[in-house]
Assembly symmetry: none
Homo-oligomer: 214 residues x 4
Amino acid sequence: MSRRRAGVAGRSEFRRAVSDAEKSQRRQVILAAAKQVFSSGDFHAATMADIARAAGVSYGTLYWYFDSKDELFDALMDEQEAALRHSIDSALKDESVTDVESALQSSVRAVFDFFDADREASKLLFRDATAISERFTRHLLTIFDRFLGDLEYAVSDAQRKGMVRDAPPRVVAYAAASLIGQLAYRRLSTDDGLSSAEAAEFVVSLLLDGLRPR
Amino acid sequence: MSRRRAGVAGRSEFRRAVSDAEKSQRRQVILAAAKQVFSSGDFHAATMADIARAAGVSYGTLYWYFDSKDELFDALMDEQEAALRHSIDSALKDESVTDVESALQSSVRAVFDFFDADREASKLLFRDATAISERFTRHLLTIFDRFLGDLEYAVSDAQRKGMVRDAPPRVVAYAAASLIGQLAYRRLSTDDGLSSAEAAEFVVSLLLDGLRPR
Amino acid sequence: MSRRRAGVAGRSEFRRAVSDAEKSQRRQVILAAAKQVFSSGDFHAATMADIARAAGVSYGTLYWYFDSKDELFDALMDEQEAALRHSIDSALKDESVTDVESALQSSVRAVFDFFDADREASKLLFRDATAISERFTRHLLTIFDRFLGDLEYAVSDAQRKGMVRDAPPRVVAYAAASLIGQLAYRRLSTDDGLSSAEAAEFVVSLLLDGLRPR
Amino acid sequence: MSRRRAGVAGRSEFRRAVSDAEKSQRRQVILAAAKQVFSSGDFHAATMADIARAAGVSYGTLYWYFDSKDELFDALMDEQEAALRHSIDSALKDESVTDVESALQSSVRAVFDFFDADREASKLLFRDATAISERFTRHLLTIFDRFLGDLEYAVSDAQRKGMVRDAPPRVVAYAAASLIGQLAYRRLSTDDGLSSAEAAEFVVSLLLDGLRPR
DNA sequence: TATGAATGAGCATTCATTCAT
DNA sequence: GATGAATGAATGCTCATTCAT
């Protein structure tokens, strides 16, 4: 955000009726409205008119901030990804994270917490974007792939440390990501009676030790 | 509701311009065309005109066999589910299936084989229907739920036999279904170098014994 | 109706699976179905499929008996007109008809009775046909004009006999026809508590003596 | 419901791409075009494309001003009714109206003049709306009923004043309305050689004194 | 004769995007 | 910067009519 507003009043930018801060804020308002509209129904059902109405701006204004519906959707998705990443990163910085297993558990719990707290986000990342069009499928896959890359790296690392048995790291990472994602999604519609910590523990124990009784 | 009801019930059917076999066959042609069109893009992108063109029939003919785009899509989804079920059921009747573990492995392999052989089906069952509309999301969930129910039953059974440790059967079933489904879907876009048998073995070993080296 | 059926059985018309009488009867069945369908809703809402269904025949059969929907409608209208005419003619042959006034009264009553007894007919003649298309409007006007001609002749005659004051006969006839027709139509939706005879008497007294108290 | 509600209520209206006057004017242009198109054919024959073309606006613009074809038609009918009412009300305010008889005569003449001057209006009010659909039939009947109510009130009043003999006021009103309406309509297609004043006089004399010579 | 499957032009409506003000 | 009126291509669905069997 620019600080130019802090400068001398009456500067030469008199042609700009709205400050950068206000612009940025309005952009956020639109994104928030879009998030709400997109997440309640399918992508096609959400019209630009709906979004404008929800945001309290006119049709035309939408196009001042975003070049198209596609771009608006892309921006929204990027924002959600960043928020999820931020959640996970924060969790990993916690002092309770001491080894691979506790790191995995913290991450999974962060994912669960994130979607528990923001159901709209989950609809966007899990449901709406999945089949809307080639374009959004690709965007979603890109996001998923980035997480997958991180996980794959972590799996390889764990294998080096002897915590995970020998298996193609990418397949393992994919399996883990699927499990975590689907269960996070499931939490939204079904109440297992499990807290996010308990659910995370289950996932980790399933991944590490399987279902067979010892 | 089909238009065919327009015919006169109770009237003799001593003559018919087109035999039942021909009608049924043409219905299949339309479904096949719809499958192809729906699976290469989302529900909205697939127009009735596209489907008619792909099927080599006229626009109106579509509406002789199906009352609406929705109904056509529903019929298609039902057909795909039935085919997948048939695959799994056949696999379970194989003589090599002797216990819970081999049953699980055979089923998973059947799923992998099914989608390996029919990529369009996978797009329909995994991708397209998910975000189309409330209605189709519900249809898809119903299908998924049916498989889930079967799996849950199997899990409970395995728990009784001491093959699976104590855990909420439905959550376990959901985890297993997610894993199997997502990996089946992944096979289509990525070549792991794993045969369906090898992949199935990996899934089963992951589910039963986890990733931790013994 | 042809009498050929009365001839020797086994005649050379063996290619005709259905006798003339049966054909004629089926035609009537179709017309009756069309009458019902047309009179319950507007012309455009009534589809050929509806009529076929109501008649218990197939689409194609309709076109065996009538060349088009328009022609079917025309035939139906002609039939209704003939029936109404027949009613009036019968009434005029009654022995109670002795002069112009009693003739008028009998006619009006016949009209009222006709529509009282056949509400579907009234919908066809008064409502449905009125605005369907240029074509049907013209047909309707033709029918109305024929009645108008008869009335005009009667008015002129009455004027010659000194029963009706001097005024353009056609305008008078039109006024009378409008009054009779509209009141006949009104009887269908509103119950005045007037019998057809009483209502006819009111119309005649209004036409002849007006509303002003003597 | 109009799309205009899509705008943001409560937001300042300090600027407007198009003035209210321009909007209102364009709405009138569309209504005028619709009147012309609807009155030259039935409701179904008049397509939105026809109306757009006649109005010189694009297809979508129609929907900016009216939410549907139905709503457009309703608005048109309401406008016509208001105009006719205005005509009659003006006539009744004329100083030549001194008693019931002159009031009746002025009203009838106003009706004749109105339709003489606007043949499209007459087609809408007398013909087109009648058979379009349940919905429009109802709209038309409502309009007719309002006039009927006014007339009935006038008839009762005249009866109290001894100007009209004893008879059910509603039936009398219906008869009068029918006569006036039908003759107004007739004037459009046939030239009697009667001015609106002469025709009105005939109608009033017929209604009050009947056809029988004194 | 009768059937009903097949045809395809035609219609109301939606909605992303543009642009004059 | 902001507005909202205007645009018009695109879509699902209907239905009178034809015709092979």
